[in-house]
Every structure is written in structure tokens, then in C-alpha cells.
């Protein structure tokens, strides 16, 4: 703690502070991203209505049919079938459910947990902060993918475990960022003024700090959605994520790995689905960040 006596200040602009500078690159509203993500949500919700086949059971007689536009394709199986004769199109639709569910739940849980920890650590100084931040830093000091692989492997591959592990590994990102924000906001004069007005600490936290970190939480959440989808897909691909026969995209990519030469579509089509969704989520995240919280551009 040091005293900061403000130096005789220069007069500041009378006009509202102009936002130039930094990475506020004009990213236009990510219309395409919104359409893609909206589509994925719709597909996920209505998968049972749209899907032409059963996602988990196929007929071996139908195995490895190429997509409809290739020679030997069959309009019954738009995107072809896998080694067990399951319709890839159907599995992609159902796979969207898995990806979205993991992404939304993990983002939400990690966000709530991290925000609480971050706010408490940023506002109440002393040993509470030290302990919380040590735990946060310790978790952050571990390689994400490695820990995810090992934890899921130890706990056993299941949807719940994947979700839990992702939350355990990702909440510290919120906690650290939110704590920093909370610290910065605590320095603002309006917090002192709220004290002078007689507000209690919990009230200040609720009325003044939380509303001002909300944009950051939103930005982090949008950015993490993409990361989580990618992480879940990688885990499933490695065989330590969602267990078969659930149609998870990562798992589907792994299915076709050994027959890449003969049947590229088994791997590549779900891979493109992952890529598309992650790309859309990333672009949206970038836009949200630049629009609402340019300070965070380094994430």
C-alpha cells in the first residue's frame, strides 16, 4: 500500500472521452457468426425432429457410404455413414446437443464460481484474498489440456466428469480477471463516495462492483464458450471425454482416424462442424470483447 497523492492534474477533456486507440479495430457485427450459432442452437434443440436416423444405432450393411455428392453416395445418408453404418448427418445434429450442453453448463458454472471467488478476493483484502488467490494461481499454473486428460482418465470418462473437470480447470480464469477488475474498481472514487454515503461493504459489492464487472464476465464467457467446445472435442477425440456411443463430435473424428485414406468424411465432416462452431464463437467473442471491454483484448 502506498499513498498516491494525485499530482496537479491536467485538465481533462470536457468532451466525453474519445474512444480511439488500442485494438478497437472495427469488427463489424458478426452477423454470420450469429447465424451459425443460432442454427446450431436450433439444430441442437430440434435434433430429434430433424434427424432422419437413429444417432447411436446403425446397420452394418450401410457402413461407410460416402456423402451424397460423391460417387456411391446415397440421398438417404446426406453426409455418408461411419464404420458402424450410422448416419453422420444425424450424429452431427445430436453432437451439437452434446457440445452446446457442455459449453453452456461449464461456462455458466465456472463463471459463477469464478466470479464469486474473484469478487470476494478483490474486495475483501487480507487472508481471504491471499488464500483464494493462491488456489487460483496454483490451478492456473497447471497445463490445462494435460490436467483435463489426466483428471478425466482418473475419474472415468463420462459427461458429468468432463463437465466437472472443465469447470474445475476454468473457474480460475474468471477469478483472476474479476479480481483484477474488482481491485481496479475499488480504486475508483465512486466506491469511496459510496462509503461516505454510508453503504455497507456487501451493498457496495452488490450495487457498485458487480454491475461494473458484468461486461467482463460476459466477455469472458463468450470467449470461453469456444475454448470449452474445443477442449471437450479434444478430450473426446483422445478417448478421455464423452464415452461412445454418444455422438460427440470429437469422438466421431476419432472414429474415422484410421480410415482417413478410404473414408475421409467420417473424420473430416465432424471436424468441420467443430471448426465452424468454434470459429463462429471466437468471432462473436472477439466482437463482444472489442465492443464492451477493450481492456481484455489480450485474452
Amino acid at each position: 500500500m502506498t499513498t498516491t497523492e494525485s499530482a496537479p492534474g491536467a485538465p481533462q477533456a470536457e468532451e466525453p472521452r474519445v474512444k480511439v486507440r488500442g485494438a478497437a479495430t472495427t469488427i463489424r457485427f458478426p452477423f454470420v457468426s450469429m447465424v451459425v450459432l443460432g442454427l446450431v442452437v436450433l439444430v441442437a434443440v430440434f435434433a430429434p425432429l430433424i434427424a432422419p436416423h437413429d444417432p447411436e444405432v446403425g446397420q452394418l450393411s450401410n457402413k461407410l457410404i460416402p456423402p451424397v455428392w460423391q460417387e456411391g453416395g446415397n440421398s438417404d445418408f446426406l453426409l455418408g455413414t461411419d464404420t458402424l453404418g450410422r448416419d453422420i448427418f444425424t450424429r452431427i445434429l445430436y453432437g451439437a446437443r452434446v457440445s452446446l450442453m457442455v459449453a453452456i453448463l461449464a461456462t455458466g458454472l465456472a463463471g459463477v464460481l469464478g466470479t464469486i471467488v474473484g469478487l470476494v478476493a478483490g474486495f475483501y483484502r487480507g487472508w481471504v484474498e491471499i488464500i483464494l488467490m493462491r488456489i487460483t494461481d496454483m490451478t492456473l499454473a497447471l497445463p490445462l489440456m494435460l490436467m483435463a486428460i489426466v483428471l478425466v482418465a482418473l475419474l472415468g470418462a463420462s459427461l458429468t466428469n468432463v463437465l466437472m473437470v472443465i469447470v474445475i480447470l476454468l473457474w480460475p480464469y474468471y477469478a483472476r480477471q474479476i479480481r483484477g477488475e474488482a481491485l481496479a474498481i475499488s480504486e475508483e472514487d465512486f466506491i469511496d463516495l459510496a462509503r461516505v454515503a454510508g453503504l455497507s461493504s456487501p451493498r457496495i459489492l452488490w450495487r457498485h462492483i458487480l454491475p461494473n464487472v458484468m461486461p467482463t464476465i460476459g466477455v469472458l464467457a463468450t470467449l470461453q464458450v469456444a475454448l470449452i467446445i474445443l477442449l471437450e472435442a479434444s478430450l473426446s477425440f483422445l478417448g478421455v471425454g464423452i464415452p461412445p456411443p454418444t455422438p460427440a463430435w470429437g469422438l466421431m473424428v476419432a472414429d474415422g482416424r484410421d480410415i482417413l485414406g478410404r473414408a475421409w468424411w467420417v473424420s473430416i465432416i465432424p471436424g468441420i462442424a467443430i471448426f465452424g462452431v468454434v470459429l463462429a464463437a471466437n468471432l462473436l467473442g472477439d466482437w463482444v470483447r472489442d465492443r464492451f471491454d477493450p481492456k481484455l483484448r489480450q485474452l
Binding site: L238, G261, F275, Q298
Partner: protein, 307 residues
Amino acid sequence: MRRFILARLAQAVVSIFVLITVLFFMVRLTGDPVERMIPPQVTEEMANELKAAYGLDKPLLVQYGVFLGGLVTGDLGTSLYFRGRTVGELLSLRILPSLELSVFSMMFSLLIALPLGVYAAKYRGRGSDYVARIFSILGGAAPSFLVGLVMLRIFSVQLQWFPTGGREGLLSVVLPTFTLGWFVSAGIMRLTRSSMLESLYGDYVKLARIKGVRESVVIWKHAFKNAALPVITYATVIFAAVIGGAIVTEYVFAWPGVGSLLIRAVIQRDFPVIQGAVILIGTAFVLCNFLADLAYAWINPKIRYTR
């Protein structure tokens, strides 16, 4: 400065210790490794014998002590799958290939990302900026297993330019390096670009121009040196990306590194090997972070000159 180094070193050691401890107890508490491994038809007697052979019949804390003692002497235990081979032996064969892949990809991504980031910032909003940003956006969104598989399909299966896997000769390193390097460079480029933008608008850059310094010197000497600071700070993120990406990339290309050993051990439930691999990768990760901190302190005179 010395104090700073010592403090960071202590932090790194504590991190590694916590990692090891947590790992040990997690492995033991999530189920007896031998029981998970042995086939159901094995009699209890044989199982107990096996447990005794691996020292699993002793109390947990004693096991922990033995485990720590083993660590100190470099003994990481024996593999459950490859009978009779020690974990240390298995790992030592894998370290060099892993190191090779990481170093190649890191160099590749730095060579691409730093200049790209700098020029994207300088020509912000123009052609080269867009090229750079598309490169990084795609790299950040494409899962490395997909990139790897597409590469394999096109360059190995179709064109047969490169081997489909393994580590034989220089050619075999090209595809894994690109796959891992692209993913990593996406992050570095974004960081470099944004921190360059910040420093290009700084007053000291203005002052350099006022002094009549040439534009290229303004950019590389004045702006870049300060822009590099946050990039180094975020080296943590970058190393995490290399190490995480390396596991997947090694697996896709059947690269004989620690990552693919780990995945195989996970599938085979070979717990001593998992433990060993995690300790190795985790330690490397923590050490890299420590080195990044040092580099940061060394570049940043504000830390260097505060004892």
C-alpha cells in the same frame, strides 16, 4: 532481483509439489490401480500378491512417503503394462522427440507470429492486417487434431510427400511442426498485434518520431521492445498451448513423445506411467513459466533494478 528470482523459484517448487501430491492421492483415491487393471478371473490371493509387489498394501501415507522417496532418487516406479520396464526408462526414450517437436513448433510460430503481429499492427485496418488476422483466427479455431488429420490426408495419403506418422528423418517432423505451430502462433500473433497497437500509440513512440528517428527504428527499437513485455508475460498461455497441443499432435501423428505415451498409458490405465508423464510435463510447464517470469524481469528494468 535476487529476491524476485528466489520467490518465483519457491513458487515454482511449491506448484510442482502440490501437483505431485494431488496427483498421487487422486490416483489412489479414485480406485486401486491393480484392481482396475487385473482381469476378474484372477484370485484374491494373486491380487494381493500383486499389490504387495507394487507396495500397494501399505497405508496410504507410507505409500506416499515411499513414492516421494522414489522421486527424489529418480525412481518413478515400474510400468504396469510393459512389465519390468521402469517408468524412468520409458520416459527417457520419449523426452527427446517431445522436446524436438516443441522447440521446432515454438520456433516456427515465433518466426511467423512476431513479424506478422508487428506488421498487422503497423498497417492496421489494411490488407496485411486482414491476412494476419485471418491466419490467426483460423489457427485459433481449428482443432489441432483436425488440422493434423487434414494434413495427413492431403500431404501423406494423397500426395505422399510426407510419412503418415512416426519419427523418421527430417520430413516426418514437418507436418507435426506446422500443425502445432499454427495453433500456437495464432495466440502469439494476436497478443503481439494488440500489444504493438498499444505501444504504437504511446507517448514514447511519439517522442521517438519527434526526435526524427526512422520509422523502422521507431517500430522495432521503441515500440516492439515494450510490446514484447506483455507477450512474454503471457508466455504462460503460450506454453500451455504448446504443451496441450503437443499431446494431441503427438497422438495424431503417432509421434513417439511423452504426450502419446501419456495417452496410451491413460487408455491402458498404466498409472505409474501416467504419474511419471504428468510429473514430467507438469514440471516442464512450471519451469517454463518460471523462465518466462525471469525473462520478463530481465527485460523489464522496473523489476531488474528493484533488488
